[in-house]
Amino acid sequence: MASLLDYYQPTGPSSAFTQADINARAGEQAEDAGLSQTLLKRQFETRTLPDLVNRQAGRGAFFSSASSNALNRAGEDYVTESADVSRLLQRSLANLSRNRILAGLGVSI
Protein backbone atom coordinates (compact mmCIF):
# COMPACT_ATOMS: atom_id res chain seq x y z
CA MET A 1 0.00 0.00 0.00
CA ALA A 2 1.47 3.32 -1.06
CA SER A 3 1.94 5.97 1.62
CA LEU A 4 2.76 9.63 1.50
CA LEU A 5 5.71 8.92 3.77
CA ASP A 6 7.16 6.88 0.90
CA TYR A 7 7.45 10.09 -1.08
CA TYR A 8 7.88 12.87 1.51
CA GLN A 9 10.30 12.98 4.38
CA PRO A 10 11.22 16.24 6.21
CA THR A 11 14.99 16.67 6.19
CA GLY A 12 17.15 17.01 9.28
CA PRO A 13 16.67 15.84 12.84
CA SER A 14 13.48 16.29 14.77
CA SER A 15 13.09 19.89 15.88
CA ALA A 16 12.30 18.75 19.44
CA PHE A 17 15.96 17.84 19.98
CA THR A 18 17.08 21.17 18.62
CA GLN A 19 14.58 23.04 20.81
CA ALA A 20 15.77 21.23 23.93
CA ASP A 21 19.38 21.92 22.98
CA ILE A 22 18.65 25.59 22.41
CA ASN A 23 16.91 25.89 25.76
CA ALA A 24 19.85 24.24 27.48
CA ARG A 25 22.34 26.44 25.68
CA ALA A 26 20.40 29.57 26.60
CA GLY A 27 20.45 28.61 30.26
CA GLU A 28 24.13 27.79 30.10
CA GLN A 29 24.96 31.08 28.39
CA ALA A 30 23.08 33.05 31.01
CA GLU A 31 24.79 31.10 33.79
CA ASP A 32 28.24 31.64 32.28
CA ALA A 33 27.55 35.34 31.76
CA GLY A 34 26.34 35.78 35.34
CA LEU A 35 29.37 33.97 36.67
CA SER A 36 31.72 36.07 34.54
CA GLN A 37 30.16 39.33 35.65
CA THR A 38 30.28 38.27 39.32
CA LEU A 39 33.97 37.40 38.96
CA LEU A 40 34.69 40.68 37.15
CA LYS A 41 32.84 42.65 39.79
CA ARG A 42 34.67 40.88 42.62
CA GLN A 43 37.97 41.26 40.82
CA PHE A 44 37.43 45.04 40.33
CA GLU A 45 36.00 45.88 43.73
CA THR A 46 37.98 43.62 46.03
CA ARG A 47 41.32 43.24 44.27
CA THR A 48 42.05 45.69 41.44
CA LEU A 49 40.90 48.88 43.20
CA PRO A 50 42.40 48.09 46.67
CA ASP A 51 45.70 46.92 45.09
CA LEU A 52 45.89 50.07 42.94
CA VAL A 53 45.07 52.43 45.89
CA ASN A 54 47.55 50.70 48.19
CA ARG A 55 50.29 50.85 45.57
CA GLN A 56 49.70 54.58 44.85
CA ALA A 57 49.58 55.31 48.58
CA GLY A 58 52.78 53.40 49.14
CA ARG A 59 54.56 55.47 46.56
CA GLY A 60 53.14 58.71 48.08
CA ALA A 61 51.24 59.63 44.94
CA PHE A 62 47.70 58.85 46.21
CA PHE A 63 46.25 62.25 45.27
CA SER A 64 48.17 62.71 42.06
CA SER A 65 46.55 62.89 38.60
CA ALA A 66 48.44 59.77 37.69
CA SER A 67 46.55 57.93 40.36
CA SER A 68 43.16 59.18 39.13
CA ASN A 69 44.07 58.24 35.60
CA ALA A 70 45.04 54.75 36.66
CA LEU A 71 41.75 54.34 38.53
CA ASN A 72 39.76 55.65 35.59
CA ARG A 73 41.42 53.13 33.24
CA ALA A 74 40.77 50.31 35.68
CA GLY A 75 37.10 51.39 35.93
CA GLU A 76 36.72 51.59 32.16
CA ASP A 77 38.27 48.18 31.72
CA TYR A 78 35.88 46.70 34.23
CA VAL A 79 32.84 48.32 32.67
CA THR A 80 33.93 47.38 29.19
CA GLU A 81 34.55 43.72 30.02
CA SER A 82 31.39 43.40 32.02
CA ALA A 83 29.28 45.16 29.37
CA ASP A 84 30.86 42.96 26.71
CA VAL A 85 29.70 39.91 28.61
CA SER A 86 26.18 41.35 28.70
CA ARG A 87 26.34 42.23 25.01
CA LEU A 88 27.55 38.74 24.07
CA LEU A 89 24.84 37.21 26.23
CA GLN A 90 22.21 39.34 24.56
CA ARG A 91 23.50 38.36 21.13
CA SER A 92 23.66 34.68 22.04
CA LEU A 93 20.13 34.68 23.40
CA ALA A 94 18.86 36.53 20.33
CA ASN A 95 20.60 34.02 18.10
CA LEU A 96 19.10 31.17 20.05
CA SER A 97 15.63 32.68 19.68
CA ARG A 98 16.16 32.90 15.94
CA ASN A 99 17.61 29.40 15.82
CA ARG A 100 14.57 28.07 17.66
CA ILE A 101 12.44 29.30 14.76
CA LEU A 102 14.86 27.98 12.16
CA ALA A 103 14.98 24.62 13.87
CA GLY A 104 11.19 24.51 13.72
CA LEU A 105 11.46 25.04 9.98
CA GLY A 106 13.83 22.14 9.68
CA VAL A 107 16.85 24.32 8.98
CA SER A 108 20.02 22.87 10.41
CA ILE A 109 22.17 25.56 12.17
Binding site: Y8, G75, A83, R87, L102
Partner: protein, 405 residues
Protein backbone atom coordinates in the same frame (compact mmCIF):
# COMPACT_ATOMS: atom_id res chain seq x y z
CA UNK B 1 -52.14 -92.50 -46.40
CA UNK B 2 -50.82 -89.03 -45.72
CA UNK B 3 -52.03 -86.35 -48.03
CA UNK B 4 -49.61 -84.41 -50.14
CA UNK B 5 -50.21 -81.28 -48.09
CA UNK B 6 -49.39 -83.11 -44.89
CA UNK B 7 -46.18 -84.49 -46.39
CA UNK B 8 -45.19 -81.03 -47.55
CA UNK B 9 -45.83 -79.70 -44.07
CA UNK B 10 -43.62 -82.37 -42.55
CA UNK B 11 -40.80 -81.66 -44.96
CA UNK B 12 -40.98 -77.94 -44.30
CA UNK B 13 -41.05 -78.54 -40.54
CA UNK B 14 -37.92 -80.64 -40.78
CA UNK B 15 -36.22 -77.95 -42.80
CA UNK B 16 -37.24 -75.27 -40.32
CA UNK B 17 -36.14 -77.28 -37.29
CA UNK B 18 -32.78 -77.88 -38.93
CA UNK B 19 -32.38 -74.08 -39.05
CA UNK B 20 -33.72 -73.18 -35.66
CA UNK B 21 -32.38 -76.19 -33.81
CA UNK B 22 -35.70 -76.95 -32.18
CA UNK B 23 -38.89 -78.74 -33.23
CA UNK B 24 -41.12 -76.49 -35.21
CA UNK B 25 -44.85 -76.46 -35.15
CA UNK B 26 -46.53 -75.43 -38.34
CA UNK B 27 -50.08 -76.12 -37.32
CA UNK B 28 -52.26 -73.52 -38.92
CA UNK B 29 -49.31 -71.99 -40.62
CA UNK B 30 -50.91 -72.24 -44.00
CA UNK B 31 -54.27 -73.38 -45.31
CA UNK B 32 -54.54 -76.86 -46.68
CA UNK B 33 -54.87 -77.24 -50.41
CA UNK B 34 -52.20 -74.76 -51.37
CA UNK B 35 -49.01 -76.64 -50.68
CA UNK B 36 -46.78 -74.67 -53.00
CA UNK B 37 -47.52 -71.23 -51.60
CA UNK B 38 -47.47 -72.62 -48.07
CA UNK B 39 -44.02 -74.01 -48.57
CA UNK B 40 -42.76 -70.68 -49.90
CA UNK B 41 -44.26 -69.00 -46.90
CA UNK B 42 -42.45 -71.45 -44.65
CA UNK B 43 -39.25 -70.82 -46.57
CA UNK B 44 -39.69 -67.09 -46.05
CA UNK B 45 -40.06 -67.70 -42.35
CA UNK B 46 -36.91 -69.77 -42.41
CA UNK B 47 -35.14 -66.92 -44.20
CA UNK B 48 -36.43 -64.44 -41.68
CA UNK B 49 -35.05 -66.59 -38.88
CA UNK B 50 -31.68 -66.67 -40.63
CA UNK B 51 -31.76 -62.89 -41.03
CA UNK B 52 -32.76 -62.46 -37.43
CA UNK B 53 -29.86 -64.63 -36.30
CA UNK B 54 -27.55 -62.32 -38.20
CA UNK B 55 -28.71 -59.20 -36.47
CA UNK B 56 -29.23 -60.83 -33.10
CA UNK B 57 -32.93 -60.22 -32.89
CA UNK B 58 -35.89 -62.53 -33.10
CA UNK B 59 -38.40 -61.88 -35.84
CA UNK B 60 -41.40 -59.89 -34.79
CA UNK B 61 -39.46 -57.80 -32.31
CA UNK B 62 -38.97 -54.08 -32.44
CA UNK B 63 -36.81 -52.76 -35.29
CA UNK B 64 -33.17 -52.72 -34.36
CA UNK B 65 -31.73 -49.23 -34.18
CA UNK B 66 -28.60 -48.65 -36.13
CA UNK B 67 -27.06 -46.88 -33.17
CA UNK B 68 -27.46 -50.05 -31.12
CA UNK B 69 -25.73 -52.03 -33.83
CA UNK B 70 -22.88 -49.55 -33.79
CA UNK B 71 -22.59 -49.83 -30.04
CA UNK B 72 -23.53 -46.20 -29.51
CA UNK B 73 -25.73 -44.72 -26.87
CA UNK B 74 -28.77 -43.15 -28.38
CA UNK B 75 -29.11 -39.49 -27.37
CA UNK B 76 -32.26 -38.11 -25.86
CA UNK B 77 -34.56 -36.22 -28.22
CA UNK B 78 -33.22 -32.75 -28.92
CA UNK B 79 -29.86 -33.58 -27.38
CA UNK B 80 -26.58 -33.30 -29.18
CA UNK B 81 -25.24 -36.78 -29.81
CA UNK B 82 -21.76 -35.67 -28.80
CA UNK B 83 -22.94 -34.28 -25.51
CA UNK B 84 -23.64 -37.84 -24.39
CA UNK B 85 -19.96 -38.61 -24.69
CA UNK B 86 -19.22 -35.81 -22.27
CA UNK B 87 -17.61 -32.92 -24.14
CA UNK B 88 -15.90 -31.03 -21.29
CA UNK B 89 -17.20 -27.60 -20.44
CA UNK B 90 -14.98 -24.60 -19.64
CA UNK B 91 -16.29 -24.33 -16.14
CA UNK B 92 -15.05 -27.83 -15.39
CA UNK B 93 -11.44 -27.10 -16.25
CA UNK B 94 -9.06 -26.83 -13.29
CA UNK B 95 -7.78 -23.36 -12.61
CA UNK B 96 -9.90 -21.80 -15.25
CA UNK B 97 -11.84 -18.62 -14.60
CA UNK B 98 -14.16 -17.98 -17.44
CA UNK B 99 -14.67 -14.32 -18.38
CA UNK B 100 -17.44 -12.83 -16.30
CA UNK B 101 -17.45 -15.77 -13.93
CA UNK B 102 -17.91 -15.30 -10.21
CA UNK B 103 -14.28 -15.84 -9.23
CA UNK B 104 -12.87 -13.41 -11.80
CA UNK B 105 -15.48 -10.74 -11.04
CA UNK B 106 -14.83 -11.14 -7.33
CA UNK B 107 -11.10 -10.75 -7.85
CA UNK B 108 -11.65 -7.67 -10.03
CA UNK B 109 -13.91 -6.16 -7.40
CA UNK B 110 -11.41 -6.83 -4.62
CA UNK B 111 -8.60 -5.28 -6.63
CA UNK B 112 -10.67 -2.21 -7.49
CA UNK B 113 -11.69 -1.85 -3.85
CA UNK B 114 -8.07 -2.10 -2.70
CA UNK B 115 -7.10 0.62 -5.17
CA UNK B 116 -9.96 2.77 -3.94
CA UNK B 117 -8.82 2.24 -0.36
CA UNK B 118 -5.28 3.20 -1.34
CA UNK B 119 -6.48 6.39 -3.02
CA UNK B 120 -8.72 7.42 -0.15
CA UNK B 121 -5.97 6.53 2.33
CA UNK B 122 -3.52 8.75 0.54
CA UNK B 123 -6.08 11.54 0.41
CA UNK B 124 -6.52 11.23 4.16
CA UNK B 125 -2.76 11.21 4.73
CA UNK B 126 -2.38 14.28 2.57
CA UNK B 127 -5.18 16.06 4.39
CA UNK B 128 -3.59 15.30 7.76
CA UNK B 129 -0.14 16.30 6.52
CA UNK B 130 -1.41 19.60 5.13
CA UNK B 131 -3.15 20.29 8.42
CA UNK B 132 0.09 19.62 10.25
CA UNK B 133 2.01 21.87 7.89
CA UNK B 134 -0.52 24.63 8.43
CA UNK B 135 -0.30 24.20 12.19
CA UNK B 136 3.49 24.34 12.13
CA UNK B 137 3.45 27.34 9.84
CA UNK B 138 1.12 29.22 12.14
CA UNK B 139 3.28 28.29 15.10
CA UNK B 140 6.48 29.43 13.37
CA UNK B 141 4.89 32.65 12.20
CA UNK B 142 3.75 33.32 15.72
CA UNK B 143 7.30 32.73 16.96
CA UNK B 144 8.65 35.05 14.27
CA UNK B 145 6.12 37.66 15.28
CA UNK B 146 7.36 37.40 18.85
CA UNK B 147 11.01 37.85 17.82
CA UNK B 148 11.10 41.69 17.86
CA UNK B 149 9.70 41.74 21.36
CA UNK B 150 12.19 39.09 22.41
CA UNK B 151 15.06 41.06 20.91
CA UNK B 152 13.91 44.21 22.70
CA UNK B 153 13.55 42.38 26.00
CA UNK B 154 17.05 40.92 25.71
CA UNK B 155 18.47 44.32 24.71
CA UNK B 156 16.79 45.99 27.66
CA UNK B 157 18.17 43.32 29.92
CA UNK B 158 21.66 43.83 28.55
CA UNK B 159 21.41 47.63 28.86
CA UNK B 160 20.21 47.27 32.45
CA UNK B 161 23.16 45.05 33.19
CA UNK B 162 25.58 47.53 31.60
CA UNK B 163 24.03 50.41 33.51
CA UNK B 164 24.20 48.43 36.72
CA UNK B 165 27.85 47.62 36.08
CA UNK B 166 28.60 51.28 35.35
CA UNK B 167 26.85 52.36 38.52
CA UNK B 168 28.75 49.81 40.55
CA UNK B 169 32.06 50.89 39.02
CA UNK B 170 31.28 54.56 39.65
CA UNK B 171 30.39 53.79 43.26
CA UNK B 172 33.55 51.76 43.81
CA UNK B 173 35.74 54.46 42.30
CA UNK B 174 34.08 57.18 44.41
CA UNK B 175 34.64 55.07 47.49
CA UNK B 176 38.41 55.29 46.98
CA UNK B 177 38.29 59.08 47.69
CA UNK B 178 40.65 59.86 44.82
CA UNK B 179 39.94 63.20 43.14
CA UNK B 180 39.75 63.90 39.38
CA UNK B 181 37.89 60.78 38.39
CA UNK B 182 35.80 60.65 35.18
CA UNK B 183 32.17 61.79 35.43
CA UNK B 184 29.77 59.09 36.58
CA UNK B 185 27.77 57.09 33.94
CA UNK B 186 30.13 57.70 31.04
CA UNK B 187 32.04 54.39 31.08
CA UNK B 188 29.76 52.36 28.80
CA UNK B 189 28.40 55.03 26.47
CA UNK B 190 30.12 53.82 23.22
CA UNK B 191 29.21 50.21 24.02
CA UNK B 192 25.53 51.01 24.43
CA UNK B 193 25.37 52.64 21.00
CA UNK B 194 27.05 49.59 19.49
CA UNK B 195 24.50 47.33 21.18
CA UNK B 196 21.66 49.48 19.77
CA UNK B 197 23.10 48.93 16.30
CA UNK B 198 23.26 45.17 16.85
CA UNK B 199 19.65 45.14 18.01
CA UNK B 200 18.56 47.00 14.88
CA UNK B 201 20.39 44.45 12.77
CA UNK B 202 18.59 41.64 14.53
CA UNK B 203 15.23 43.30 14.02
CA UNK B 204 15.95 43.71 10.31
CA UNK B 205 16.16 39.91 9.90
CA UNK B 206 12.64 39.32 11.23
CA UNK B 207 10.78 39.93 7.92
CA UNK B 208 13.19 37.57 6.17
CA UNK B 209 12.45 34.93 8.74
CA UNK B 210 8.76 35.47 8.15
CA UNK B 211 9.30 34.95 4.45
CA UNK B 212 11.38 31.85 5.11
CA UNK B 213 8.64 30.32 7.24
CA UNK B 214 6.01 30.90 4.56
CA UNK B 215 8.35 29.64 1.85
CA UNK B 216 9.18 26.48 3.79
CA UNK B 217 5.50 25.78 4.42
CA UNK B 218 4.77 26.33 0.75
CA UNK B 219 7.53 23.92 -0.21
CA UNK B 220 6.15 21.37 2.22
CA UNK B 221 2.70 21.74 0.70
CA UNK B 222 4.10 21.40 -2.80
CA UNK B 223 6.11 18.35 -1.76
CA UNK B 224 3.04 16.75 -0.27
CA UNK B 225 0.99 17.43 -3.37
CA UNK B 226 3.81 16.01 -5.49
CA UNK B 227 3.98 12.97 -3.23
CA UNK B 228 0.25 12.50 -3.64
CA UNK B 229 0.56 12.75 -7.41
CA UNK B 230 3.40 10.23 -7.39
CA UNK B 231 1.41 7.83 -5.23
CA UNK B 232 -1.64 8.21 -7.46
CA UNK B 233 0.55 7.69 -10.49
CA UNK B 234 1.85 4.48 -8.96
CA UNK B 235 -1.70 3.34 -8.21
CA UNK B 236 -2.80 4.21 -11.72
CA UNK B 237 0.19 2.31 -13.05
CA UNK B 238 -0.78 -0.73 -11.01
CA UNK B 239 -4.33 -0.40 -12.31
CA UNK B 240 -3.10 -0.22 -15.89
CA UNK B 241 -0.84 -3.23 -15.31
CA UNK B 242 -3.73 -5.13 -13.80
CA UNK B 243 -6.01 -4.23 -16.69
CA UNK B 244 -3.34 -5.30 -19.17
CA UNK B 245 -2.85 -8.54 -17.29
CA UNK B 246 -6.58 -9.17 -17.23
CA UNK B 247 -6.80 -8.45 -20.93
CA UNK B 248 -3.98 -10.92 -21.55
CA UNK B 249 -5.81 -13.50 -19.46
CA UNK B 250 -8.99 -12.86 -21.40
CA UNK B 251 -7.07 -13.36 -24.64
CA UNK B 252 -5.55 -16.58 -23.29
CA UNK B 253 -8.96 -17.77 -22.20
CA UNK B 254 -10.45 -16.91 -25.57
CA UNK B 255 -7.67 -18.85 -27.24
CA UNK B 256 -8.28 -21.81 -24.99
CA UNK B 257 -12.00 -21.64 -25.71
CA UNK B 258 -11.32 -21.49 -29.43
CA UNK B 259 -8.90 -24.39 -29.11
CA UNK B 260 -11.45 -26.45 -27.21
CA UNK B 261 -14.18 -25.57 -29.69
CA UNK B 262 -11.89 -26.63 -32.49
CA UNK B 263 -11.09 -29.90 -30.74
CA UNK B 264 -14.76 -30.47 -29.99
CA UNK B 265 -15.55 -29.86 -33.65
CA UNK B 266 -12.89 -32.34 -34.68
CA UNK B 267 -14.30 -34.83 -32.19
CA UNK B 268 -17.80 -34.18 -33.55
CA UNK B 269 -16.65 -34.77 -37.09
CA UNK B 270 -14.85 -37.93 -36.04
CA UNK B 271 -17.87 -39.17 -34.14
CA UNK B 272 -20.15 -38.35 -37.09
CA UNK B 273 -17.81 -40.26 -39.40
CA UNK B 274 -17.75 -43.19 -37.00
CA UNK B 275 -21.53 -43.08 -36.87
CA UNK B 276 -21.78 -43.07 -40.63
CA UNK B 277 -19.30 -45.90 -40.85
CA UNK B 278 -21.24 -47.87 -38.26
CA UNK B 279 -24.46 -47.23 -40.14
CA UNK B 280 -22.83 -48.27 -43.39
CA UNK B 281 -21.45 -51.46 -41.85
CA UNK B 282 -24.75 -52.26 -40.21
CA UNK B 283 -26.55 -51.72 -43.52
CA UNK B 284 -23.98 -53.95 -45.15
CA UNK B 285 -24.54 -56.64 -42.57
CA UNK B 286 -28.28 -56.36 -43.06
CA UNK B 287 -27.86 -56.51 -46.82
CA UNK B 288 -25.62 -59.57 -46.51
CA UNK B 289 -28.13 -61.22 -44.25
CA UNK B 290 -30.89 -60.42 -46.72
CA UNK B 291 -28.85 -61.79 -49.59
CA UNK B 292 -28.05 -64.96 -47.69
CA UNK B 293 -31.67 -65.33 -46.73
CA UNK B 294 -32.76 -64.89 -50.36
CA UNK B 295 -30.16 -67.44 -51.41
CA UNK B 296 -31.38 -69.82 -48.76
CA UNK B 297 -34.92 -69.21 -49.92
CA UNK B 298 -33.97 -70.02 -53.48
CA UNK B 299 -32.20 -73.21 -52.40
CA UNK B 300 -35.10 -74.18 -50.18
CA UNK B 301 -37.41 -73.45 -53.04
CA UNK B 302 -35.40 -75.68 -55.35
CA UNK B 303 -35.25 -78.43 -52.74
CA UNK B 304 -38.96 -78.16 -52.17
CA UNK B 305 -39.73 -78.24 -55.87
CA UNK B 306 -37.56 -81.28 -56.22
CA UNK B 307 -39.13 -82.94 -53.22
CA UNK B 308 -42.55 -82.04 -54.53
CA UNK B 309 -41.69 -83.58 -57.85
CA UNK B 310 -40.46 -86.76 -56.21
CA UNK B 311 -43.37 -86.86 -53.82
CA UNK B 312 -45.86 -86.35 -56.61
CA UNK B 313 -44.26 -89.17 -58.55
CA UNK B 314 -44.27 -91.43 -55.52
CA UNK B 315 -47.82 -90.52 -54.64
CA UNK B 316 -49.01 -91.30 -58.11
CA UNK B 317 -47.21 -94.60 -58.03
CA UNK B 318 -48.44 -95.50 -54.56
CA UNK B 319 -51.92 -94.38 -55.44
CA UNK B 320 -52.10 -97.08 -58.19
CA UNK B 321 -53.42 -100.58 -57.33
CA UNK B 322 -50.62 -103.02 -56.57
CA UNK B 323 -47.92 -100.42 -56.57
CA UNK B 324 -45.70 -100.75 -53.49
CA UNK B 325 -42.53 -98.96 -54.45
CA UNK B 326 -40.90 -96.92 -57.13
CA UNK B 327 -37.43 -96.58 -58.46
CA UNK B 328 -36.41 -93.00 -59.12
CA UNK B 329 -32.99 -91.52 -59.57
CA UNK B 330 -32.05 -88.62 -57.43
CA UNK B 331 -32.68 -85.31 -59.14
CA UNK B 332 -29.92 -83.02 -58.08
CA UNK B 333 -30.91 -80.26 -60.41
CA UNK B 334 -33.59 -77.68 -60.24
CA UNK B 335 -37.20 -78.50 -60.57
CA UNK B 336 -37.52 -76.85 -63.94
CA UNK B 337 -34.42 -78.46 -65.29
CA UNK B 338 -35.39 -81.78 -63.75
CA UNK B 339 -38.78 -81.52 -65.34
CA UNK B 340 -37.20 -80.90 -68.74
CA UNK B 341 -34.85 -83.81 -68.27
CA UNK B 342 -37.70 -85.98 -67.11
CA UNK B 343 -39.86 -85.20 -70.12
CA UNK B 344 -36.93 -85.76 -72.41
CA UNK B 345 -36.21 -89.07 -70.71
CA UNK B 346 -39.86 -90.06 -70.97
CA UNK B 347 -39.89 -89.39 -74.68
CA UNK B 348 -36.75 -91.45 -75.02
CA UNK B 349 -37.99 -94.37 -72.97
CA UNK B 350 -41.42 -94.40 -74.63
CA UNK B 351 -39.63 -95.46 -77.82
CA UNK B 352 -38.05 -98.38 -75.99
CA UNK B 353 -39.46 -101.84 -76.66
CA UNK B 354 -39.34 -102.58 -72.97
CA UNK B 355 -41.79 -99.72 -72.48
CA UNK B 356 -44.27 -101.10 -74.93
CA UNK B 357 -43.89 -104.67 -73.66
CA UNK B 358 -44.29 -103.63 -70.04
CA UNK B 359 -47.32 -101.47 -70.85
CA UNK B 360 -48.98 -104.39 -72.52
CA UNK B 361 -48.01 -106.68 -69.62
CA UNK B 362 -49.53 -104.27 -67.14
CA UNK B 363 -52.69 -103.97 -69.21
CA UNK B 364 -52.90 -107.73 -69.53
CA UNK B 365 -52.43 -108.11 -65.80
CA UNK B 366 -55.14 -105.54 -65.09
CA UNK B 367 -57.45 -107.17 -67.60
CA UNK B 368 -56.83 -110.65 -66.18
CA UNK B 369 -58.64 -112.21 -63.31
CA UNK B 370 -55.59 -113.10 -61.21
CA UNK B 371 -54.57 -110.79 -58.39
CA UNK B 372 -51.01 -109.86 -59.05
CA UNK B 373 -48.98 -107.12 -57.35
CA UNK B 374 -46.81 -104.69 -59.19
CA UNK B 375 -43.73 -106.29 -57.67
CA UNK B 376 -44.81 -109.74 -58.88
CA UNK B 377 -45.53 -108.37 -62.34
CA UNK B 378 -42.17 -106.64 -62.41
CA UNK B 379 -40.41 -109.79 -61.28
CA UNK B 380 -42.15 -111.88 -63.94
CA UNK B 381 -41.38 -109.29 -66.64
CA UNK B 382 -37.76 -109.00 -65.58
CA UNK B 383 -37.39 -112.76 -65.56
CA UNK B 384 -38.79 -112.91 -69.07
CA UNK B 385 -36.76 -109.90 -70.32
CA UNK B 386 -33.63 -109.68 -68.17
CA UNK B 387 -32.15 -106.87 -70.25
CA UNK B 388 -35.26 -104.67 -70.20
CA UNK B 389 -34.58 -101.01 -69.41
CA UNK B 390 -35.70 -100.21 -65.87
CA UNK B 391 -36.36 -96.58 -66.65
CA UNK B 392 -38.57 -97.47 -69.51
CA UNK B 393 -40.42 -99.84 -67.19
CA UNK B 394 -40.85 -97.08 -64.60
CA UNK B 395 -42.16 -94.71 -67.25
CA UNK B 396 -44.60 -97.35 -68.41
CA UNK B 397 -45.83 -97.81 -64.83
CA UNK B 398 -46.21 -94.04 -64.45
CA UNK B 399 -48.06 -93.61 -67.73
CA UNK B 400 -50.43 -96.53 -67.13
CA UNK B 401 -50.98 -96.26 -63.39
CA UNK B 402 -50.19 -92.58 -62.66
CA UNK B 403 -52.86 -91.37 -65.03
CA UNK B 404 -55.43 -93.02 -62.87
CA UNK B 405 -56.21 -95.71 -65.42
Amino acid sequence: MASLAEIAKRVAANALSSYTGRPASLSGAQPAGSPSSSLLDVARRVGSAALASQVGRLPGGAPTAVSELAGLTAPAPGQNALAVGGVPTLAGLPGFSAPGSGAAANYDRQFTESLGRARSGIETQLRNALTEVGRQEASQLQAVGQLPGEYARLADLARAQVNETTTNADAALAATGVQGLAPAGTGAAPLLSAMALGQATQQAGVPLLDLGVRDTAGRARGGLEQAKLSAFERIDSEERQYAAQRAAEERDNAMRVAQMQYEAKVAQTRAANDMKMAQFEAAQRQQTARDEAAQANALRDQDFQRDIFKLELGAKLRGSPGATSGNFGALEVSAKKGSAIASSAADKYRDDSAYRLFVSAINQARAGDDEVTLDQLTAQFTAKYPKANRNAMSLAMYDVLGAGK
